[in-house]
Point group: C2
Chain length 272, copies 2
């Protein structure tokens, strides 16, 4: 298939490199020339896309608001598949519904990344074994859906999940966005400058995603505000319950609270 | 040196195995016979300790309250070094100060572990490059301190930090105990059963230590209640600030909040 990947950041360039490795013809499109040159030099793309003409699939690997904008104004060829990789799915889907179109939209969310961004963090093995979410509606074209499933397997994803955009956004508030809020809030303490030498693996894990790309995540948070606010609120309330038990030195209460968490955790891993 | 390690869980057995590997004579002492047999079969100890007689160093690798109890009643030989590895340091130090003694106490906290516990998770490489905290007072014997520093290097620790028990407990509330509270609170959600397929590396990191040994951690939390409650309270307040900005879809406010976290994080890593 002839695939145009628009946006060569960590995800877009990894999509390009993985699909090229799987034998597809992959052209890159990017605002800055530098990433095109890097992708060419590192064999991540077959060439630069001058337009969308002739593309079977167009992958939009752009920041959230730019994705929505491109879905509204992009000059996509009739019949081609347009998939975005945006971390929220209700907003792009709504944009597609508003736009008159002769192309076929499939929303996706590759559940992989790193604490670093940009093409230098990309690789053709970033997605190996990772989760891949595809969002579907009554209007989703079944052949386009089959093609996207097949591309996900070509990129090396492990589990492929299909759900509605609303279901995705509800779950992702918990499994992704809340992580970034917590990691960032965790490290915002006057003690941070003094804690060298006092950290173990737990602290490193907990704070790894703290130095987020704040512009992109602020967009994602605002585009999924209701679901995320609910998760943040739930966690803050649970912390207040812990705080009270700790202040009361309530040993058995603390054991009960932790046991409840353990049961949820095991429930999660039993199904995962 | 002749070293007796009392308590062959993940930390005690790793201490024993690391020190034996470094050439010390290491004897194990444990309530259950099974761990002694396992440690002997896996070359982690040279033999079983029938008593503390003749020991140069006694390592107490016991749960927090048992540690405090043993420091009060243990029949340690005159002149020997007794070091505990308890995750809080004010309480054991206070116990030592109350007990009449002819032995030399040095408090330590090896900043390493796993999400699993027990001797089967132990290894002679657990501590390689990890942080090791030694707590000191005006009464700490300088030669005993030198010996403990030397043992820490023998076990493969990277950075060795010395501070007061109060300083340790304040920092550890942030860098260790809070991690366990947050990971556990994070997963306690009705959504946990449905989130298979929606997780990436961030979620896995964030929740890794959720299935804690609740009895041990409840003890640690109660023994460091004031410092930990303050950290939990700070984080909950920060989350409420995020929640409000998210509900208001306050893009620039969210970017500012995240930028503050990033600055703290970088400050931390600049010094670490």
């Amino acid at each position: 298939m002839k695939i145009v990947v628009y946006g060569l950041g960590i995800i877009g360039a990894s999509v390009a490199a993985s699909l090229k490795k799987a034998g597809h013809l992959v052209l890159g499109k990017n605002r800055s020339r530098e990433s095109i040159d890097y992708a060419l030099a590192h064999g991540m793309i077959d060439g630069e896309a001058q337009s969308y003409d002739g593309a079977d699939v167009i992958v939009l690997a752009l920041p959230p608001r730019v994705t929505v904008h491109e879905l509204c104004v992009g000059d996509f060829p009739a019949g081609c598949i347009v998939m975005d990789i945006c971390g929220v799915k209700t907003a792009p889907e709504a944009a597609v519904k508003q736009a008159p179109r002769s192309w076929r939209y499939v929303g996706t969310h590759p559940m992989a990344g790193k604490e670093t961004s940009g093409i230098r963090s990309a690789s053709d093995s970033l997605f190996l074994g990772a989760n891949f979410v595809i969002t579907v509606t009554d209007e989703t074209d079944s052949k386009a859906l089959d093609s996207v499933r097949s591309l996900a397997r070509d990129m090396g994803f492990g589990r492929i999940v299909e759900c509605t955009a609303a279901e995705h956004d509800r779950m992702i508030a918990l499994t992704s966005q809340l992580c970034h809020v917590v990691a960032n809030a965790y490290v915002t303490t006057p003690l941070s400058a003094g804690c060298a030498g006092f950290t173990g693996g737990g602290f490193q894990d907990m704070t790894r995603v703290a130095p987020v790309d704040e512009a992109m995540w602020a967009e994602l948070f605002c585009m999924n505000a209701d679901a995320l606010a609910e998760e943040v609120s739930r966690l803050a309330a649970r912390l207040k319950t812990f705080e009270q038990a700790i202040r009361n030195r309530d040993d058995s209460g603390l054991r009960s609270l932790m046991h409840e968490g353990k049961v949820c955790y095991e429930e999660f891993f039993r199904r995962n």
